[in-house]
């Protein structure tokens, strides 16, 4: 037995067990907080009541397919335009935040990184709230919210790709007397373009999903329709919206997977 212990040291297990215990305690605390302290079970009702509440959503009402199709198309366009705008806005951010081409590293680099962090840390709904407040209800607020939310991811990926480029073509351009702008236009852009397009397609897929929610806070499209139907207690209409969202999102995912495999 002593021999075995010398081969398999026991020390690390103690530390691990303390961590596991801590996680377990935190989890129990959360469960207790949610289910015991915060939830009034009398409000939730019996299982039968819950089931009845669920049953109200069925069957879906397909009586307003035209309106639904219109909203689906709106959502699709909001996702597309939001992505497009984010691509445009990401270019300067990526330029600032890529260490190797940043115009003035001590200032531009932190500025670029800061924009990335803010863009990613603020939830799309919060972005939408800001733009709805500034612009009023409608798809434009949604487009701007999506694009601001997407800058972080797109510019981060692009900056990383720029930092990973092959310097040899750039050396050749420099040797031929090309300017710094020539180096970017001829040396960097052709190298990162395919990856950039891949990032854009990936982001578009995510933005379709996000576009469905932006409407709930006033950004138009399917989300708006959903919240209208819910507020009017037309639950079976709302189910139809959900199905439309599902179809749109799955179609977007399918197309984006196909497109990305076409590129690579």
């Amino acid at each position: 037995m002593a021999e075995l212990e010398s081969v398999i040291p026991k020390k690390s297990n103690l530390k691990r067990n303390i961590w596991l215990l801590a996680f377990a305690l935190v989890f129990v605390w959360s469960v207790w907080g949610i289910f015991v302290v915060e939830t009034k079970w009398s409000n939730v009702g019996t299982i039968a009541q819950v089931l009845r509440a669920i049953a109200r959503f069925f069957p879906p009402n397909w009586g307003y397919v035209l309106e639904l199709g219109q909203a689906t198309f709106d959502t699709f366009l909001i996702g597309l335009l939001g992505t497009f705008l984010s691509l445009v806005l990401s270019i300067p951010v990526a330029w600032f935040a890529a260490h190797n081409i940043s115009p003035f590293v001590p200032i531009c680099y932190p500025v670029g990184r800061f924009i990335m962090t803010i863009s990613r840390s603020v939830h799309e709904v919060v972005w939408a709230l800001i733009f709805v407040a500034a612009l009023g209800l409608g798809p434009f607020a949604g487009i701007l919210a999506l694009s601001l939310r997407s800058i972080g991811f797109v510019s981060k990926m692009t900056a990383e790709q720029i930092e990973d480029i092959d310097y040899r073509p750039i050396e050749a351009i420099r040797a031929a007397g090309g300017s710094r702008i020539d180096e970017i236009l001829w040396g960097i852009i052709p190298q990162i373009l395919p990856q950039f397009i891949g990032t854009a397609i990936f982001q578009w897929d995510i933005n379709i999903r996000r576009a469905t929610i932006i409407g709930i806070v006033g950004g138009g499209g399917l989300g708006l329709l959903f919240s209208i139907k819910m507020q009017a207690y037309q639950y079976s209409d709302a189910t139809a919206v959900l199905v439309a969202i599902l179809v749109l999102v799955l179609a977007g995912e399918y197309i984006s997977t196909k497109l990305r495999s076409m590129i690579s």
Binding site: E38, G45, L77, L80, I216, S227
Partner: protein, 275 residues
Amino acid sequence: MEATKPTQPLNVVEHLEEHKKRRFFYFLSGIGVLILIFWSFYYLNIPLARFFFMLGPIGHKINQLFIWPDFGYINNLGMLQSIVETFQMGIFGTFVGLALCVPLAWFASFNMTPNKILLYPLGRGVIIGSRSIYELIWAILFTMILGFGPLAGSLTCVLATIGFSGKLMTEAVEAIDMGPVEAVRASGAGEIETFFWGVLPQVQTSWTGIGIYGWDSTFRMATIMGYVGAGGIGMYLRETIEMLEYEKTGMTLLVIIILVIISEISSAWARNKLS
């Protein structure tokens, strides 16, 4: 590298025409994309002029939101409680979601699924369903069914975690080396033993990483869940916006951003610690 076949011999003029033809094609596609974009703006009834007027109000709004947040607003018991509640929702959602992801990712991986007819579509369906319907919509549905409060929010967080981590964990299983799996099977193990001895050791590291990312995304979700009444600090967003108390909205946003950054720092620390 294999040499490419030469194209048919062309004279100088033909070469130049070929070159110009290609440039013209790119030019046309560029114009096409631009037309499409402007048409979309037109179709969605977006008054572009308003964009420039927006800069005024948005500056004003940001001024209200960020320059002078009502710092005193955090000093009320409800706000502090809701912060605690947000953490509880995030933790519950992450733990339960990840625990459910373990079997779901196993079921939904095409190479390791124990049952192709029943469990495979079940795993896929749950993961795709939680992914495709946006979390906030689930939150609205849950509040309709279960009433307002953190119960709806924490269930949403569970689904959010499944949606985010489930797909990644499935992909990790699908990428494993089948050699050890065959070795375990050859020793007469059943499906469950194969999973524990052949699959789990291989995906342990990547699953842990995915789990930590899952916490990030789930917690961010938990901070806004309250906007639809599903518990947590997001409630104050809606409340203060509806009351037009933008200073308080600003403070709430500030708190949310700080919470998210804290959670991101802690998960970055955990990732570092593990690697």
